[in-house]
Amino acid sequence: MYKTAPVPLRLIIRSLTYGVLAFTSLFVSAALSAEPLTPLDLKGLLGHIREKRNAAPNVQADFHEEKVIRLMNKPIVSSGKIWFQAPSKFRREVAGSSSSVMVSDGQQLWIYYPNFKSAEHYSLGKHSPVDAAMAAINTALNLENVEGTFHITGAKAPHGYDLELLPRGPSMKRLFQSFHLHINDDLLAERTEMLQPNGDRIVTSYSNQTRASIPASLFQFIPPVGTDVSTPLGK
């Protein structure tokens, strides 16, 4: 695709960012109760989240997503189920008439459209800008050295906590403007909201979250026979 029709790489990265942020945000949970959170509280919270992640690296949930994009007059609504395994494996299945499956094992990213019998394939780990974006986002939401990449603030909400991540550097700022996260009193993500520099916005709500183990095969994807596979960023 890239060789046959030049496309703005920035837009692909931005779009992928939505998905990855949504998945990895499930991992964020809170353990402190103060309002607003002081830097010390926040540090403790982040430390606790890392402990949680290390103790139980899997999480799965149902989601409901609403995308407001400039191209469309009305928001696009979708729902489905997601699975995530730290640090970077995930699967996202969108149900309904416009169904899709997004799978990554950390090295490959597949997006499969059953209705069209087509799939998009992205290779990660090749120093591509997509790779950099995903690595940066994963790092942020796994909270590894996150303070170096983002300005983080937090506050105690009536039912849980609100966290806000603002990118520090220009490269991250090109990807998204802000990322808001609400976690409930059970320390599980309930709602995320991402704002893009061009004004596009994506809001995701989660329910039925569990930390049950996930079979490794769920993070593998082999396109069904007859699938039209494209590589938008080349091989």
């Binding site: 060789k3 496309v7 703005p8 920035r10 837009l11 692909i12 469309m72 696009i76 997006i111 550097g169």
Partner: protein, 831 residues
């Protein structure tokens, strides 16, 4: 009256007149120098101009925009890679604000909104330039049903979560831009392999087009002064560890080379004068004749330079080595003539008689020595290299004048009343050696023969290969910052090699389009067959007036109102924002306007902003004359051998399309046979010339054979030394062989001519061997001092010549002399 007597009389009785002539000569030469001095610093002019690949390089270097392009690179430590990424955009902005900067490319234009917009602005002419069937097919997307279907499909994909439809709609809302850009994207696949960030992210490259007025050395120096001032400033906003700023590019190279010329002139000339002067003083312990020798040599240089300027108009940088070579060569004559003069004075002759004697005895040898050397250097004309042609001619002129001045002007600096040298330890040593080697020549001869035969075995043996460096780096100046920067960039960037350059000049736009299409089709076949790795051409940007006219006609059958209406309805039905599709409606309006034959045909040049980053790509294809263009072919492997050159030169051309293939690697591989030709054939011609001359001069076949063997020994030992010292041959220092033949033969001439006529061994032979020994040392010093030059062609040539002349001297002293003594022993015994 003999000429020698006449010279002696004029020099002693009419000194004022001689000085007047000298002053007039100096004034005339200085006038020429001041009014005509112009230097050419282009390294390409060191290569033979008759090759089309070399001509192609010259065209690409002079007519394409890259002459004004500088490459900046920022290099940081691995731990600062993230900081570098953050810092790069700000650095690019600072670069953009420099008064000498016109455009900056800091990343793929596709990654910036401006770059995408600029590309969209080129869409209309490129769409109209599509082949008619492709254009017809592209227009099908405007059919109402197809339009509805496409937008519905994209809507479904967005709902499914794909990022792709979003960017497709932002880039190409109507579905016409992608097909318009397809040939352009395909034709530029090669550019994708050249990222601006190193894989380890510790280096970022920025391409800068400057506003440099011309590619001249002075303008390049001016630009680089500004660029270096910019580099020296503290980097605002950088918070990491050490950050290196590298700069390279043609201007950087030209600046480095032209500045190094000044150093080269001073270092080589001073080095040569110092060494030669020291050797002269050690040999004769006289200051005034040393001054006279220096004056005569400088005058010879001046005359040679002035005549050279009158002949060529503009002198290449290679000629800066002319002075030191001339000093190294011309001093031979001074040493011989003055040595003989001193000997005559020692014999009790008057000043005038001693002058006459020295000129009479050695004038002939000096004349033939100057002639063989001049012919040797004139043979550089056959190299086809403008730089070396000039060097050869200048030295040939200079050496003939040096011979003349040493037999005349030198004596203006010799006092009539001078004291005789009390103790000449050097002469004493030489005399002892000459006595010993002539009385018992066999031991010396056996030892020297064994040594030289052994060296020849190594030198001429195919078992020990003499490396041949045909890379462009072998021609780059030493210690050049531009060269080091380029090496650092090449080291950090992904493995790739220089493509073959294809230069095409067309008569009109239609021919340009047609010819590039033929070429692109042919190269695509080669790529499919695996014969080349890839290629890129300006075919998609070469607009065809005929095709555009034909496609314009197709537009008249299109119902644009219906298309607009269908687009409106589809947007409404799928829930797309009409605002976001404004560019689609604008493109429809532009297309509709094309139906009117009175509307001029669009050209992407008129639509692309002057500041657009896409010009970096376009300027690689189009020269300042838009009908002069270039394409690029990446071979399957780097072009390092003549075989790979031949293979490509047979495969790449297209019948009836006059393309010039070039590029540094391609050209140097093309020149390899030329270089070998220089080494073998022309050196052989020189040897034949020398052989004939020596036969006429000696008229004794045995002495002639001795001299020929001496020359073979010298060349063989020179080759062996270069092999053992790992000094590679390159495209330029192969010229040293003929110079060694030309200079080395002189020593034999001096020795054998005097041997033939010697009556008193101690007086005649030892009296010449000492000056020959000193002359050899001075020549080695003169050429060796070229090794100080930063210019690699000069230093390489100097070192190779110094080695060759050293072995010529050794062979002459330790083989020629005892061999002559063994062959004609009576001559000495009768003395």
């Amino acid at each position: 009256m003999r000429i020698s007597d006449l010279i002696a009389r004029v020099l002693t009785e009419r000194r004022g007149t001689v000085w007047s002539v000298v002053i007039v000569l100096v004034a005339a030469c200085l006038t020429v120098l001041i009014t005509r001095m112009a230097l050419d610093s282009d390294i390409i002019n060191m290569l033979p101009g008759k090759f089309s690949s070399v001509q192609g390089l010259k065209v690409y270097n002079s007519d394409f925009e890259q002459t004004r392009e500088l490459t900046f690179a920022l290099v940081c430590h691995p731990e600062d890679a993230d900081k570098l990424e953050e810092f790069a955009p700000g650095f690019a902005e600072v670069l953009r604000n420099q008064p000498w900067c016109e455009r900056v490319l800091a990343g793929s234009p596709m990654e910036t909104p401006e770059g995408v917009h600029d590309l969209q602005s080129m869409a209309l002419p490129l769409l109209l330039n599509l082949d008619s069937p492709v254009f017809t097919h592209a227009l099908e997307v405007l059919q109402p049903a197809k339009m509805r279907e496409r937008l519905h499909h994209l809507h479904e994909q967005i709902a499914a979560g794909s990022p792709r439809p979003q960017f497709e709609l932002e880039f190409d809302p109507l579905g016409l831009i992608a097909p318009a850009m397809k040939p352009f994207a395909e034709g530029n696949a090669i550019q994708e392999d050249q990222p601006l960030t190193s894989p380890d992210r510790t280096m970022r490259v920025f391409l800068v087009v400057t506003n440099q007025q011309s590619a001249s050395a002075f303008d390049s120096q001016k630009l680089m002064r500004q660029a270096n001032e910019f580099r020296a400033r503290p980097l605002q906003g950088w918070e990491g560890g050490p950050l290196q700023v590298l700069i390279t590019g043609r201007s950087a190279y030209v600046s480095d080379i032209s500045l190094s010329m000044r150093y080269d002139v001073v270092a080589t000339l001073l080095g040569s004068m110092l060494l030669v002067g020291a050797i002269f003083f050690v040999g004769f312990q006289r200051w005034l004749p040393l001054l006279g020798m220096g004056f005569a040599l400088l005058l010879a240089c001046l005359v040679g330079l002035a005549i050279g300027l009158l002949i060529f108009g503009r002198l290449n940088m290679a000629t800066i080595g002319f002075s030191s070579i001339l000093v190294g060569l011309g001093v031979d004559f001074a040493i011989l003539i003055f040595g003989r003069y001193q000997q005559a004075r020692g014999d009790g002759e008057s000043h005038r008689d001693a002058i006459a004697t020295s000129v009479a005895k050695l004038g002939r040898a000096v004349f033939f020595g100057a002639l063989t050397t001049a012919v040797g250097f004139l043979a550089l004309v056959l190299s086809g290299s403008l730089g070396f042609t000039q060097l050869g001619v200048l030295i040939a002129i200079g050496i003939l004048f040096a011979g003349l001045f040493m037999c005349t002007i030198l004596f203006l600096f010799v006092r009539e009343r001078q004291t005789v040298m009390r103790h000449d330890w050097l002469f004493g040593l030489v005399k002892r050696y000459v006595c010993w080697s002539v009385q018992r020549p066999k031991p010396v001869l056996i030892f020297s023969t064994l040594l030289l035969v052994g060296l020849c075995a190594i030198g001429f043996s195919p078992l020990f290969a003499l490396p041949f460096d045909a890379s462009a780096r072998s021609l780059e100046p030493k210690n050049s910052q531009a060269s080091q920067a380029l090496a650092a960039i090449m080291h950090k960037m992904p493995t790739r090699w220089e493509p073959v350059l294809a230069i095409l000049r067309a008569h009109d736009p239609q021919q340009l389009h047609d010819q590039w299409r033929k070429i692109a089709d042919h190269w695509a076949e080669l790529q499919r067959a695996g014969k080349i790795k890839g290629f890129s051409t300006p075919a998609a940007l070469a607009l065809s007036p005929a095709i555009m006219q034909s496609n314009r006609a197709q537009l008249s059958g299109l119902d644009f109102a219906g298309v607009r209406s269908a687009l409106d309805q589809s947007l409404e039905a799928e829930g797309f924002s009409r605002e976001s599709f404004k560019p689609a409606f604008a493109l429809l309006t532009d297309l509709e306007s094309m139906r009117d034959p009175a509307v001029p045909m669009p050209h992407w040049r008129d639509h692309l902003p002057k500041t657009s980053s896409w010009w970096f790509l376009i300027d690689r294809y189009f020269a300042r004359d838009p009908l002069l263009t270039s394409g690029f072919v990446t071979s399957n492997a780097p072009i390092a051998t003549h075989a790979s050159y031949e293979s490509l030169s047979q495969q790449l051309p297209v019948a009836e399309v006059p393309v010039v293939f070039s590029g540094w690697s391609y050209s140097l591989a093309n020149l390899l046979p030329w270089s070998q030709h220089q080494l073998i054939l022309i050196s052989a011609l020189m040897a034949i010339f020398d052989a004939v001359l020596l036969a006429l001069l000696y008229r004794d076949w045995r002495l002639w054979v001795i001299q020929e063997i001496t020359l073979i020994f010298a060349v063989g030992a020179m080759l062996a030394s270069m092999k053992l010292l790992h000094i590679p041959l390159n495209l330029l220092n192969v010229l040293a062989f003929r110079l060694v033949l030309a200079i080395g033969v002189d020593y034999g001439i001096y020795i054998i001519l005097i041997w033939q006529k010697a009556h008193d061994l101690e007086h005649d032979v030892a009296g010449v061997v000492k000056p020959v020994f000193l002359a050899g040392l001075t020549a080695v010093s003169g050429f060796g001092s070229l090794g100080l030059a930063h210019n690699p062609s000069l230093s390489g040539l100097g070192i190779a010549c110094a080695i060759g002349i050293f072995w010529s001297l050794v062979a002459t002293l330790f083989f020629t002399l005892p061999a002559a003594a063994l062959t004609e022993p009576k001559t000495w015994r009768q003395a």
